[in-house]
Amino acid sequence: MSPLNDDKDSITSSFYLTKQTSFRIAMKQRIGVYICHCGGNISDYVDVEQLSKLIANEDNVVISKDVMFACSDSTQKDMVQDINDQKLDAIVVASCTPKLHTHTFRNVAIRAGLNPYNYTQVNVREQCSWAHSDKPMDATIKAYGLIRAGINRVKYSEALENIEITAQKAVGVIGAGISGMRAAVDLARMGNHVYLIEKEANVGGRVAESGKLFMTGENGKDVIDRLYKRIKEIPEITVFTNANLDKVSGSIGDFTLEVSVKDEALKLNVGAVLVTTGFDFYQPKEGEYGYKLSDNVITLQQFNKLIETSNDKLVYNGNAIKSVAYIYCVGSRQSKGENKYCSRQCCSAAIHSSLNVHEKFSGVKAFHLYRDIRTYGKQELLYTESSRKGDIYIKYEEKEPPAVEVKNNKTVITVKDYLTYKKELSFDVDLVVLVTGMVPRSDSNDISSKLKIPTGSDRFFNEIHPKLKPVETVIKGVYIGGTCQGPKNITESVQSSLAAASKINTILRKGTLELEPIVARVNAETCLWCEKCAAVCEYDAIKPIESNGKMIAQVNTSTCVGCGICGPVCPSNSIEIVQFTDNEIESMIDGFMEKAEINTKQDSQENEISSGKQIKLNGFPKIWREIASALDDKTLTIPQLSEQLGVESNVLTWHLMTMNRYGVVEPAGLDEDEAYYMYKLKK
């Protein structure tokens, strides 16, 4: 049931249209607008130079500039200077998506002493120049509307101060596999208390179950034992095993984790959460490459146990194993299936197992049925070694996978080998090993819904951005590390969880932290405390309070996430999210519809350039002067110039392009075959 549908009789539609009036702010009067070329990404399609001239005439706009890279340090410095010199009270940057540079330009504002929230980002790249690169004129018109909307919005922008909250110098690490254990050690060493929460009876996860590990040859159990010994020596780490995460509440700096350990219910207060819950191995379906139909088809994990527990001879089900076929990409790279991704570490893992077999037992033949061998980096050495040991590699394609059948008590493999012109091979082996990939844990949905971590199309937990925010999730204070984020080997898992530890320490180190002030606020005059807002808030952020003799709603700014869900349900329009007020949104709509007087003449740019300075070539390389005189009143291609001047065409290209760079020559369109540009002198 939606609250909007409740009390149909008591609320009429007109309530929803009430104009919010109480938050009056002074409109911004001195606005600076910066329109970015993005090195052509925008200016190739949108006429940014014309737009910046048009925008310069807008009311309240003091400065309007087009810049090559708004994000470059020099432009940032210019902005700071403009803000100071021109006493700007707000800025608009029209460049790429706000996901990339909001922080960059907020910092520009801060450096110039302007409140960072008196800045608006306008996306004229992803949602304009690129989206409409087929229609440059329309893109220019749209960009005008977008920028106008940005200006309108920034006029209503308010100076906001970050919310400072106390941060618990404690971290909840969910999952005590190698990633979680390792991060716990560093988090504690950096001065935080750590609660390491493990579902199973023992720590160590998948690594503890493993035998010999690539690339170091260490034993998995030994690695975990050593690490666990270290953890037990650190008093700041509390380990809970057999522990279940029941509920998560609160927000960055102050989360409450409700954890049950056997019969005991605990409440842990932490400032941040690191999720290192790991992965499951893909379980082959019955009949997939003969799995479960033949006793001689097992997974790589089962095979590794077998290698570890066999002595002298490799024996399975009482039979000596003399030949093994490894089938790769089982449950990975399924172009039509659920797991489109590559599981990254299985090629190396399988080859490493094969090498372990050779080291421990003699006379075992190995066939590797693969699609691409992905022993990236130094792991390539494993592949080289396995080839050197005589392992046979057979390449199959997804559309023609190997068939595994039991014939006359033999396990027979039939496969087309793409390394020998798709020749069909048929041979029997003693054991088939399915090299299975990694999949998200079966309980990952439970974790993601408790912590509100989004998942990607591969169903693993998703970071915000693989390069900018690789361990951060959309939930402030919740970080991810290791394989819960996607397939990784051990080193990579540890690196990612330690990277998360680093980021967590940067926010918790002081014991206080600052949060963005984008939260809800209540108009005390009009609020009637009907409880509708509190009923829809999932973050428990709204409580009643007495004010001037009546009850009104009050927002807890550290738990409020600024989703705005409370806004539309308020019958008196008394609650709103700052930065998303009626004034701001509605003035944006007005801005979109503003009529643009765009000059549609394509040659308008050409005329501008003619004022450029002409270069004197005295003392410059001789070839420059020769090229310049050959191009006097003519347009020529590089091969034509090359022939005329008797200079090799690559040397000529180099010099001509340098002259182009320094404004001596410029291109004058393509020749008839559209193979070569013609060049002319730049007057």
Binding site: C38, G39, M68, F69, C71, D73, C96, L100, H101, T104, I178, V185, D186, M190, G191, E218, V223, R333, K340, Y341, R344, D372, Y376, G377, K378, E380, T384, Y418, T420, Y421, F460, P466, K467, P470, V471, Q485, G486, P487, I490, T491, E492, V494, Q495, S496, L498, A499, S502, R509, P621, P639, S649, N650, T653, W654, L656, R661, E666, A675, Y676, Y677
Partner: protein, 445 residues
Amino acid sequence: MPENISNKYDAVVIGGGIAGQETALNLADMDYKVLLVEKELSIGGKMIQLSKVFPTLDCAACITTPKMSETARHPNITLMLNTDVIETVKTNGHFDITLNIRPRYVDEALCTGCQQCEWVCPKVVEDSYNSNMVGRKAISIPFSLANPKIAAIDMEQCLHCKKCEKVCVPKAIDYNMQPKRVNVEATSVIVSTGFNLFKPKNKPQYGYGKYPNVIDAMQMDRLIAPTRPYNSLLRPGDGKVPDNIAYILCTGSRDSSIENAMGCSAECSNNPICSQICCMYSIKQAQLLMGALPLADITIYYMDIRAFGKGYEEFYQQAKSMGVNFIKGKVAKVTPKEDNSGNLILRYEDVATGKLKEVKHDLVVLSVGVLPNSGIVKTFTNQKLELDDQRFIKQVDELVSPSLTSIEGVFVAGTAAGPKDIPDSILSAGSAASEAASYIKRFSN
């Protein structure tokens, strides 16, 4: 460099590429004092040269420039550019580091980066930022996105005509600038010196350096980048718009035949390992080329496609569906077509048919591999900073503590420890920061 800078740091980060910046920022955000030493004139490393980056196709500049600005202006980070490490000595648990700041012959405090000097300078030199595909001036800003954006004179090439001095309004030119020695003390050292690209001349059968339309992948990335050297995407041999482009993967990777071919050892030795990034950057370039030159044919000659990271396999499949041609086969030789067209003939063994084939292309891109750049180890004089068999910085506890090196207090980040793509370099940098911070904290308590 201001005279009054402190000479005591919690951490000295050597190398200002993406990994060095990320490590420095993490430590600085924890309120540690960091000195970032860079041998070039600008921070940014290899990443700032790139066009866009896989698998999201974000432009590299959009991700790097904000990080560069943040690094350059962080109150806890001091930048030292154009600087070499001379010696690092560990004494009483800390490091004494001697640095040499080479002169740039332009006063950093005065230069505004206006480039007037560059315009009037008559001496044209090779532009290494653009992989030498175009010229720049003997005095110039390092590149348009450089940070700091300050000019420098290439004194070996300078004609001493003093034209630059005449046009420089703030009087920033100083021909008599001298190198400067600086001694600093640090609690910890982070080595983030990155990697070198394989020099394709060391595979002479591919004709790099001989045939101008054989280029390496970094040159192609420059050609595609918005800050590209040419007015459009053209081949360097004669400025033709290419329409049939070949990629030769594993050039200088997974290859033990290099040493024999050239009879040299140090710089061009064998590289038996996989470089981890070439498949993906080639697929990325292919996708970008399909966008820039919709009519062009693009063929990738490969051994195995290693699309292993998050979203990479999907990115590879997307390239296939866009029409990029993938051929499993090892290219034996590249020769020029004998008609003066500048086109090239590739001879390769096609694995699918087993036949030896010859195909014409008008531009050949060599997807060169990753080699170590670990000369820094020589500067550690009283303790040995060990290398692994491939001459990358040795990770002494690779599985559990990937940033630890053979010297306590020295950590490794990014590709200095081995080939890595950008996301992995950034994670490795975060992990090095975590280790270093833990170490500094223990040390300072």
